[in-house]
């Protein structure tokens, strides 16, 4: 039996003075050690849901429980120790006046003792390649550097669950790969549960499970293979398909034979070769 770490039941949410609901009757569970991707069009409710899981909003209807605690005001600090979040805009997250103080701040709050703290701060900044910027003001970094520091801040806390809200959207291709791999290592080796809100379909296609939000509602969920079979339906949801699926389609349209629409580039290239060029 998979262990539930988050349980969301019938949750709706409305911002003050707004007509529409940002979340409508959303229910799903998150399991320990999984990598869950959340995708959906702009304004579909992803960040609203994320902020709720971090205790910044409370459901207008329905219930949420995180790490065994009900999401109510008394439990917010306990919940934030379990679940660390990287915000969509890193500027909203920085509290320290230097990069190292900023990462240390969360640890201090969690009562980590001073000597251990220094080590952890340095180790997490090293993981994201930002040790050359220890004394720079976080707001005075480049976009991608800000995102790296924000991620270090959460890794340092060693939470059970991390929630990344488009946390790598401004990283260069190799930098994104590095940072994702760092988180993946923690996911695979230490059982860290990862919830990643992303518009990057290649990243989503490597998740264990994908949830699709649409207009505040849970549209569908499943393995990446299943989700990306939806194909043209995804366009209407503001989404698209990963490269291999798109390439398969274009090759078929250009008159080449394929045994099926592929999801994986290696399989696609092999199939393309075997059916069209090998004699």
């Amino acid at each position: 039996m998979k262990e539930k770490v988050i349980s969301i039941k019938g949750v709706s949410f409305q911002y003050p003075d707004q007509e529409a609901f940002a979340l409508r009757n959303v229910s799903f569970d998150v399991y320990k050690g999984e990598w869950l991707a959340i995708v959906g069009h702009n304004g579909s409710g992803k960040s609203t849901l994320a902020k709720m899981l971090n205790g910044l909003h409370y459901p207008s209807e329905g219930t949420v429980s995180i790490g065994g605690y009900a999401l109510i005001e008394e439990n917010v600090w306990l919940i934030r120790e379990k679940l660390g979040m990287v915000f969509q805009n890193p500027d909203n997250q920085f509290v320290g006046t230097t990069v190292q103080d900023d990462v240390a701040f969360g640890l201090e709050n969690n009562g980590v003792e001073h000597s251990a703290m220094q080590e952890r701060v340095f180790a997490s900044l090293e993981k994201v390649g930002m040790t050359a910027f220890l004394n720079q003001e976080p707001h005075h970094l480049s976009g991608g550097q800000k995102q790296r520091v924000a991620i270090a801040g959460v890794i340092a806390l060693r939470p059970d669950i991390v929630l990344l809200d488009e946390a790598t959207s401004m990283l260069d291709p190799l930098g994104r790969e590095e940072v994702i791999n760092t988180v993946r290592e923690l996911n695979e080796n230490e059982g860290l549960t990862v919830i990643s809100i992303t518009h990057d379909l290649e990243e989503a296609s490597r998740a264990d499970r994908v949830i699709v939000l649409n207009e505040g509602m849970l549209y569908t969920e499943g393995t990446p293979e299943r989700i990306f079979q939806l194909d043209r339906e995804l366009l209407n949801l503001g989404l698209g398909v990963p490269f291999a699926v798109q390439m398969s389609q274009l090759l078929t349209d250009a008159g080449l034979q394929l045994s099926r629409r592929h999801f994986n580039e290696e399989e696609l290239v092999k199939d393309l070769w075997t059916l069209n060029f090998e004699k």
Binding site: H41, N42, D91, G143, Q145, D172, P173, L174, K270, W273
Partner: protein, 287 residues
Amino acid sequence: MDIKLREVEYSYAAGTPFERQAIMDVTFTIPSGQYVAIIGHTGSGKSTVLQHLNALLRPLKGEIEIGSRTIAAGRKGKKLKDVRRRVGIVFQFPEHQLFDETVEKDICFGPMNFGVSEEEAKKRTREAIGLVGLPEEVLGKSPFDLSGGQMRRVAIAGVLAMKPDVLVLDEPTAGLDPRGRQDIMNMFATLQKKNGLTCVLVTHSMEDAARYADKIIIMHKGQVYRTGAPRDIFSDADSLTNVGLDIPETVRFQRMFESHLGHPLDKVCLTPEELAAEVSRLRGEMT
């Protein structure tokens, strides 16, 4: 209107103990009507360069020619309004660009500030909001009550409504959903082709740089590392990985195919469409 940078250097907090040099000896030309992409790893100086293109930052050394204006180190720049009207920048963080109480007022501000009537500004606002795929209902909302991707769209609409000659875009698709990314990138390309706009795009998407750019500039550690046409730039994977970049997905897939084939195709394909056509042509030749 060409834009030329000559040996431009800039440091943040110059003259203080916190001084940090961001770019040096940057020389390049953005020819009128072209689509130029600037790529480079995190912190390589791209956003710093962009802010020189409409004189938001002034060089500590060197000079920038913007049409008939020259902005040189050590000289006070006067009457920059015309430059700001003609060169519109979409910032990397939309939050840095939005300020007014409603989306409509926010977008109208730019054009009205440059002397456009309120009526005309409102008309442009409606057009711009449609171009970025937002419904008219958002006009009455506060820009700060929007989702990240919706804010990004408003910030883009604000610059479009100014009708600049040069569109400067700092990672304009970060935060857009995949469909929006495609639609909005195509919209920029149409403006460039049909209306003769100059486009300068900073992006981490090698795919977008490959598909849209006439010319690519690679920044590395505050300097220009290489410039060239996309086909040349993306033929050389090693020089890209050396500076933390990568080849586009299409080129990676082409290389995988070529390793089966045993020899390279005639050209590096810049889009999946181009590669599919090339592979199909090859099969025709072989059978």
